[in-house]
Symmetry: C2
Subunit: 388 residues, 2 copies
């Protein structure tokens, strides 16, 4: 749209879309006062995959940028031009879907010129940056058959509140009226909500692409809300209730609602649970606590605490029974993840007790950049016939 230059403020009568030439107002614009429309472009992804960020803030003294492609706590400084527009160009970046925030004189904000927002549970300070490229990413929109994502409102008897869960149905679900499908329960992290695996994690597109390539079994993916205790309250006592309350909501409210509405294949071999960060801890706790229900577990960027071997003593003491029940126990963590020690501790405990599992130590930190890839790697291993 622009050649890297700045777009000037254009005064445009807000007849947009109404000036349709088809029963519209081309000849007789409505009387709304003309309004300043900022046409500044941010972020702008250049052909060479460098990216320019811009913020119009003539009165600001300092503007900085923090993106999830940056190591550690690094920030980039933006520079102001004579029109009061701050900008910085970074990269080239590897093709991917990133998140970033701006700091405007110390106030953390998202990029107001960018309509793509990463929703949060406690705040809204994060924008989304998409850098397209070849080869296509596992989560890229491709010209393949698409499944759909259904947002379900339900009354949680456990929590006394109306909440939502998302359900991915694969392409053809409506046509194959008698087919029954295995189901993956996929859990988000502490900063996110039930929509994030769809809107930022692109779980549905990852499944679409794997299915189109014949790399996965058609399955449902249920994405519930992992916050059961108040999400903003971070006292350990409250956080400590969360896993138990979430488990009750999942088992007593979400799972029955899913079973009553969708065509599910029966039995634990057709049921998996996985999650990232807080959701990884939940998948571990709910999954290991209910091997009668779940035949596969995925733990992304989480691990075990000191009490793991005590808590799961019975399970660890009978590896043959545990291994028979769990067809897949998959743990992934990035080498820069602040939870890496917990993931390693989990791997070591399982190894020590001969519990079969996969431990994938990858590059990366505690970000969505690894979680989309973990899902793309985990899903093809699920619901393979002949196992369990």
């Amino acid at each position: 749209m622009s050649e890297g230059g700045l777009m000037k403020l254009a005064t445009v009568a807000l007849t947009v879309g109404l000036a349709s030439g088809a029963g519209g107002f081309v000849q007789a614009p409505p009387a709304r006062p003309a309004q300043e429309v900022d046409t500044l472009v941010s972020p702008e992804v250049h052909a060479d995959r460098r990216v320019t960020f811009r913020l119009r803030a003539p009165k600001a003294a300092e503007v900085t940028l923090r993106g999830d492609w940056m190591p550690g706590q690094a920030r980039e400084k933006l520079v102001k031009d004579e029109q009061g527009v701050w900008s910085v160009t970074v990269g080239p970046l590897q093709p991917d879907t990133y998140s970033y925030s701006l700091s405007l004189d110390g106030v953390a904000i998202l990029d107001p010129r960018n309509p793509r927002v990463k929703l949060g549970v406690r705040s809204s300070t994060t924008s989304v940056l998409e850098v397209p490229g070849a080869p296509p990413l596992p989560h890229e929109v491709r010209d393949v058959p698409h499944g759909a994502v259904q947002v379900n409102w339900y009354k949680s008897s456990t929590l006394g509140a109306v909440r939502r869960f998302y359900v991915y149905t694969p392409p053809g679900y409506e046509k194959k009226k008698s087919a029954r499908y295995p189901v993956l329960y996929l859990l988000h992290g502490a900063g996110d909500t039930e929509g994030e695996w769809t809107w930022f994690g692109c779980a549905n597109l990852i499944l679409d692409n794997l299915l189109a390539e014949g790399k996965a079994k058609p399955m449902l993916v249920v994405m519930p809300l992992g916050h059961a205790a108040p999400a903003g309250d971070m006292r350990p006592a409250v956080r400590g209730q969360n896993t138990k309350l979430f488990e009750d909501d999942l088992l007593k409210d979400v799972m029955p609602a899913v079973a009553s509405k969708y065509r599910l294949a029966a039995g634990p071999k057709n049921r998996a649970i996985a999650g990232l960060s807080m959701g990884g801890a939940q998948a571990l706790s709910v999954g290991l606590g209910h091997l009668d229900l779940f035949g596969a577990i995925g733990v992304f960027s989480a691990g075990s605490g000191d009490d793991f071997e005590t808590r799961y003593q019975a399970l660890l003491a009978a590896p043959e029974a545990s291994n028979r029940k769990l067809s897949l126990f998959w743990i992934g963590c990035g080498d820069q993840d602040f939870l890496l020690q917990g993931a390693k501790r989990l791997d070591e405990s399982l190894t020590k007790h001969n519990i079969k599992h996969v431990f994938r130590l990858t590059e990366g930190a505690h970000t969505w950049l690894v979680w989309r890839r973990y899902l793309a790697e985990f899903v093809p291993l699920l619901f393979q016939s002949g196992k369990r």
Copy 2:
């Protein structure tokens, strides 16, 4: 959480949700560096329906607030305290779901402490404020059976792009496997996208509530993306293409996809089209252009241009045929709407030519505060047996 006072910055190790006490890290917190978590609350809705907005910005010189409950272009000024937190208390406000923006030294931003965002098509500068109250609003979440909203990805052959449309299915849709449903195509405005009738317009909750009260026929509501020409390009020539391209996408791509996937009742008497603002102009143009397809039209906060009587000469010259085809032609506009003259012009043209229609002149401006109410008023009139 707070008594209207300010919460101080709390330094909290980000073990939230991982400190689960269940395989978590209560005794052994991970090594992530402690991080400042801002627990400032904004907006805070008080029991008396006054609302306090807060922004921590010690270095700012001016912070103002603009909400859609305010008349004209009015703004409220926030005042800074000794901790650098700006605040203002407004209201009491009538119970409703509002949108608002902040201005930080002239930079339009949403409220970073508020996780509820009104998504936009070109920017992200608007937060959502919910003021609950009695009697319940038509769009409030109630303890009634809930339908679901399915997000569908589809390849538009018209536009060569993968796009999305949302579909509301009423409670019981999955159980009543042989039932067929009438369908309302519901269009958004120029600043919005396909998700807005769900996420901010609460169309699904409005339908749930009307159905629970027996005030509406069970129906599907299809919410497509109304931007077919590039949404950011506001030149009249480009905007002029939009209605035609949207019509092609709707008729050739969206409607066939809907018909192939969902159980639709046949015929124009089971098909309606309505929209707000840009979507109202589209509903008018597509609906009147295809009376063989649509038996009901709703135009919310839009109207006709000077060319209306020329363009629809044939239709206006044969009122009996038009009236036989259209079981409902509903026009609503607020008395403070900048498009009121266009709506009045449409009403006058239709009246002059004896085209049956409803013209509802209400209180209100060009905001979602009227559009939710229009939907709640329009939907009960749709698909009544015996008509057409």
